[in-house]
């Protein structure tokens, strides 16, 4: 990021704006307009979640009143999240999301690297298999998934959710990593190899850092989709203490009535860790992205 904030010669500045002309003397008005538009769009994308917060803070009696803000603010739904045992479910969600992300990275990195660097028998078959996997969504196959995990005695366990989420997100990770590895010139790695780093040394010192944007993208993608996965978790985790948060929240929808405040309070709380993760990682992404622009 340093290269973009420090003034430098235009030729070395990464293309952050696609319009190189006059970038340094960008008119103030224009920046203001751009910023305003970006904030507005950011607000639009945040809007439904702000509405969630407003509903979560309404008292029951005002739930069906046509007004923007509650007359009295009611924080019991937020408090209820922690007293209602949902903190445990938050932990399960965290285990599932972190577990699947690690699994995906451990399995996808070598596969993607090898297919990008080596031509071997069955390489294209493997890539087709990956593409096909991407077409399937667990939504369509819950019954089959349940049957299988039942046979292995893995129903109602965090491990089964890690496996399923890992399996279904593997394709994307292999794919994106493969693309990144392919785009990194082999010569760079070979040079490092010749410099005496060894094959793995070259991989870890040169190739992996260059592929970091891809790794981060795969990581975020897997984490978020595992964090929010609902249908499989609903079928596979039966006891309340083993349910990830989205499933636990779903039980707020009763037969005759819905605890809207609890539901929305929980949803907002569930979203915060992901935003934090993203905020933490985004700097690295941008750092990695500038690295990726080396030709």
């Amino acid at each position: 990021m340093a290269t973009t904030t420090a003034p430098s010669r235009a030729a070395h500045r990464p293309a952050q704006h696609g319009r190189p002309r006059g970038a340094r003397r960008m008119p103030k008005l224009k920046t203001t307009l751009i910023a305003a538009l970006a904030y507005l769009i950011g607000f639009v994308f945040l809007f439904p979640y702000l509405v969630m917060v407003l509903i979560a803070l309404r008292p029951q009696k005002e739930l069906r009143t046509a007004q923007w803000f509650p007359d009295t603010w009611d924080f019991s739904a937020i408090a209820g999240f922690w007293s209602g045992g949902l903190a445990d479910n938050l932990l399960v969600s965290l285990q599932v999301a972190v577990g699947s992300t690690l699994l995906v990275l451990v399995v996808a990195l070598p596969a993607a690297y090898y297919t990008a660097r080596h031509d071997f028998k069955g390489r294209s078959l493997f890539l087709v298999l990956v593409l096909i996997t991407q077409m399937f969504q667990p939504t369509a196959m819950v019954v089959g998934i349940y049957r299988e995990f039942f046979q292995f005695g893995l129903v109602d366990s965090v491990w089964s959710l890690i496996l399923v989420n890992g399996g279904f997100n593997l394709a994307f990770a292999v794919w994106i990593l493969n693309a990144y590895f392919s785009s990194i010139p082999r010569e760079l790695e070979e040079a490092a190899f010749i410099d005496g780093n060894g094959r793995f040394g070259a991989l870890f010192r040169i190739t992996l850092p260059l592929a970091m944007p891809g790794v981060i993208t795969a990581l975020i993608f897997t984490f978020i989709s595992a964090w929010n996965e609902f249908v499989v978790a609903l079928t596979l985790s039966t006891s309340p203490e083993n349910q990830p948060l989205p499933v636990a929240l779903h039980s707020y929808m009763g037969q005759y009535s819905v605890d809207w405040q609890g539901l929305f309070a929980g949803s907002v709380i569930a979203t915060i860790p992901v935003i934090i993760l993203f905020a933490l990682i985004e700097r690295k992404v941008v750092g990695g992205l500038t690295a990726g622009s080396i030709k």
């Binding site: 904030y39 607000f43 739930l63 089959g144 493969n178 935003i275 993203f278 992205l289």
Partner: protein, 306 residues
């Protein structure tokens, strides 16, 4: 030893895919050939009865057409909007980081919950979108003396005009809107990553040649973005096709089956007839393959990736 080398690198991935994805798929295809009671007890093999029944459903053709429209509309709109947003969020301005975080919210939140809150916002009695329509309606009435309904605005809450999800004609655009809303963050993010990989001196060269901004965008940025764009669009396509929480939470395909896609239909059938539901899954899968192949042909994917 050399021959086994690929196995060590690629083997675990193949194993995981086979165990978690392929196995259930086979199970699914098998189920579509069976007559299964509602609770899953297999009664008999009855190929092709499940398929016959499915194809004979009077809503089947409409549902399939709607599914294709659903996918194509969302993916196209998402790509166009994301291209614009990526360009915007790639500019430098103070607070860009925070704006980018806000953009990520629909991706970070569960799609199911996003759909539920949109249903809330569209509620005819208390939804905030209708509140906006009513307040604007009151405004134009007072200030300009224009009848609110002539502008698609409201004079009161409740009632038919406020009930956008109640009719297929107005519900479908909203469903697609939510579909685009949740797909844009990932796509924009992927395109931002793509933009960042375009070397600066390419633009420098274009500037030297005196190319206009538009021209630079069309002949340099867009072609160089193609790998990122292709991947993002393809991922979106597969997700959207199989995405069920949006419609499920907002309309359940109602009224009747008038807002149902094939995935929703499959879920409704699951309560009634497992075998037919499995047949729907298989047909659904066939359609994803067809759409993917068409897409890859059009985008000449093979040249860019793999």
């Amino acid at each position: 030893m050399k021959k086994l080398e690929p196995l060590a690198w690629v083997g675990p991935a193949v194993l995981l895919i086979a165990a978690v994805v392929i196995w259930p798929v086979i199970e699914m295809v098998r189920s579509s050939f069976l007559q299964i009671s509602r609770f899953g007890v297999v009664r008999e093999v009855n190929f092709p009865a499940n398929y016959d029944k499915l194809f004979a459903e009077k809503d089947f053709a409409d549902i399939m057409v709607r599914s294709v429209v659903w996918v194509v509309a969302i993916v196209l709109l998402t790509v166009v909007i994301s291209l614009a947003l990526a360009q915007l969020f790639n500019q430098r301005f103070p607070g860009r980081k925070v704006a980018r975080w806000a953009l990520i919210a629909p991706w970070a939140a569960s799609v199911l919950m996003t759909a539920i809150v949109f249903k809330w916002m569209l509620d005819p009695e208390v939804g905030v979108i209708n509140l906006i329509r009513r307040d604007l309606g009151t405004f134009v009435q007072k200030v300009f003396g224009i009848e609110p309904s002539s502008l698609g605005l409201l004079s009161t809450m409740g009632g038919d005009a406020a009930d956008q999800l109640g009719q297929a004609g107005t519900a479908m655009p909203w469903l697609i809107f939510v579909g685009v809303f949740v797909s844009v963050p990932f796509t924009t993010y992927a395109l931002l990553a793509g933009l960042a990989t375009i070397p600066a001196d390419v633009y420098e060269a274009a500037r030297m040649d005196g190319a206009s901004k538009m021209r630079t965008y069309w002949s340099i940025t867009l072609p160089l973005l193609r790998p990122a764009l292709t991947v993002a669009a393809l991922i979106n396509m597969m997700n959207v096709f199989n995405s069920f929480p949006i419609i499920w939470a907002m309309t359940r395909g109602q009224p009747g089956y008038d807002t149902a896609t094939s995935t929703i239909f499959m879920y409704v059938l699951k309560n009634a007839n497992l075998g037919e539901s499995a047949a729907m899954s298989v047909v659904n899968f066939g359609m994803v393959i067809v759409l993917t192949v068409i897409f890859l042909r059009v985008s000449r994917w093979n040249r860019e990736v793999a």
